[in-house]
Amino acid sequence: MTAEPTFEEAQAELERIVERLERGDVGLDELTTLWERGEELYKRCAAQLTETQGKIEELAKRLGTEDV
């Protein structure tokens, strides 16, 4: 199993696919594969942007006396 790509990896792969498709020199059988992969990457990126909940975590205080 390959690890889930990071946003950056997904982004780079999607860019490569779009470039190839825009050149229009892809075989029809490969087109289906590429297009499906592209859609999957697009959905993954979009989900990361919209569904990922931002989080701010404070590590345990170790300084003791100071007020928070």
């Binding site: 696919i17 498709l21 229009g24 989080k55 100071e66």
Partner: protein, 377 residues
């Protein structure tokens, strides 16, 4: 003065008092000197004749007890607090009653700006010579960080500024905040501990932020231990310390220097609007590219079909042309053209006549415009 000893079994033996006296005498011959260190455990009480503190070496923690007459100390009006760096002018002394070594201070000067600057400059040269500030060492920041580490004071405006900048620009950001003292004697060790802690928790970029402050307040950010911690940090570090005009050494060691905490926040995350726009463009490109690919295949198929349809007609046409050409050549070879010039073809009994035939033989004569029969005379 002679230190008294007694002879016991041929052995020279001193009393404690005499021994201490002797040491004190010997120490008194040492010169008066300036000693530099950090003030710790300062003890001063109105009812005491002296003020006591420990002078600590900031590098390795070596300690020296210092004593100064309270009147003299108060007259300096230094308002010293623990952790401050000073120069103490004094001479070694020995508290005979307790057998304790100490420095008897005659004057104290706060470690001046000039001394600080000179020390900073020396450290800067040394670290630069090691290549710690080299541009080649600088690492690029991740385009989209998975986990951002932030080291800052616990109630600092700097913290708020960084977090606001990050969450405004990129709401899905995940930030891990570690607090540290950002000034005073414990700043360096707590900041270094926070950096190590955040790295161990897997951050992929680190911000060290502190708002503006006095020259002394910002000194921990030029401390050698802190600089080395930043340099050896496994992920890129963004420094945002003090104001634009301050250049603590951490700014030189960091991978990226931000002029303010807000700028640091904006630097570590991408703009979500731009990212969404990119994603929409990519998606559009995907659809367009797929359509274009299909269309180009369609065009190819169509043109192949057309050529296929045209092919039989083309073959026929070519044959026709060849036939015409052959016919031309055939015509050129026929005797008709010769007849036009006035010659005649004479046949007797169907055969060409090449020798004069017998008289009365019927012959057929063919000329350009027609033919007729005749008899040989």
């Amino acid at each position: 003065m002679k230190v008294e000893s007694i002879e016991i079994d041929g052995r020279k033996v001193f009393s404690v008092r005499a021994f201490n006296q002797g040491v004190a005498l010997w120490l008194k011959r040492l010169p008066t000197v300036w000693v530099e260190g950090e003030v710790t455990e300062l003890r001063r009480q109105e009812r005491w004749a002296s003020v006591f503190f420990t002078l600590k070496d900031p590098e390795d923690g070596a300690c020296l007890s210092v004593q100064m007459a309270r009147g003299q100390f108060d007259a300096l009006r230094l308002e010293l607090v623990d952790g401050e760096r000073v120069h103490v002018y004094g001479r070694p002394d020995f508290y005979e009653q307790r057998g304790e070594f100490l420095l008897r201070a005659m004057s104290i000067e706060r470690y001046g700006l000039g001394a600080h600057l000179a020390a900073l400059e020396r450290l800067k040269q040394k670290l630069a010579a090691e290549g710690l500030f080299a541009a080649a060492r600088k690492r690029p920041l991740p385009r989209i960080p998975r986990l951002i580490g932030l080291v800052t004071g616990n109630d600092a405006a700097a913290k708020r500024d960084v977090l606001t900048a990050i969450t405004t620009r990129f709401p899905p950001a995940h930030v891990l905040v570690a607090e540290a003292y950002v000034q005073g004697p414990r700043a360096v060790s707590t900041i270094v501990a926070a950096i190590d802690d955040l790295c161990a928790r897997g951050v992929d970029v680190l911000i060290v932020a502190r708002g503006g402050g006095s020259f002394e307040d910002l000194l921990p950010f030029s401390d050698e231990r802190l600089i080395r911690a930043v340099v050896s940090c496994p992920v890129p570090v963004v420094s945002a310390v003090g104001h634009e005009q301050d250049t603590p050494l951490v700014d030189l060691a960091a991978d990226v220097r931000a002029s303010t905490p807000s700028v640091a926040g904006r630097l570590v995350v991408p703009d979500i609007g731009e990212l969404r726009a990119w994603l929409d463009r990519a998606h559009g490109g995907l659809q367009r590219g797929a359509r274009r690919t299909v269309e180009s295949h369609q065009r190819r198929v169509t043109s192949a079909a057309e050529r296929l349809h045209r092919a039989p007609a083309l073959v026929l046409e070519r044959r026709r042309a060849r036939l015409a050409a052959t016919r031309g050549r055939l015509l050129a070879l026929s005797p008709k053209a010769t007849l036009e010039r006035g010659y005649a073809i004479v046949r007797a009994g169907g055969a060409f006549v090449r020798t004069p035939p017998a008289l009365g033989t019927p012959i057929a004569v063919e000329v350009a415009e027609g033919s007729f029969g005749a008899l040989v005379e």
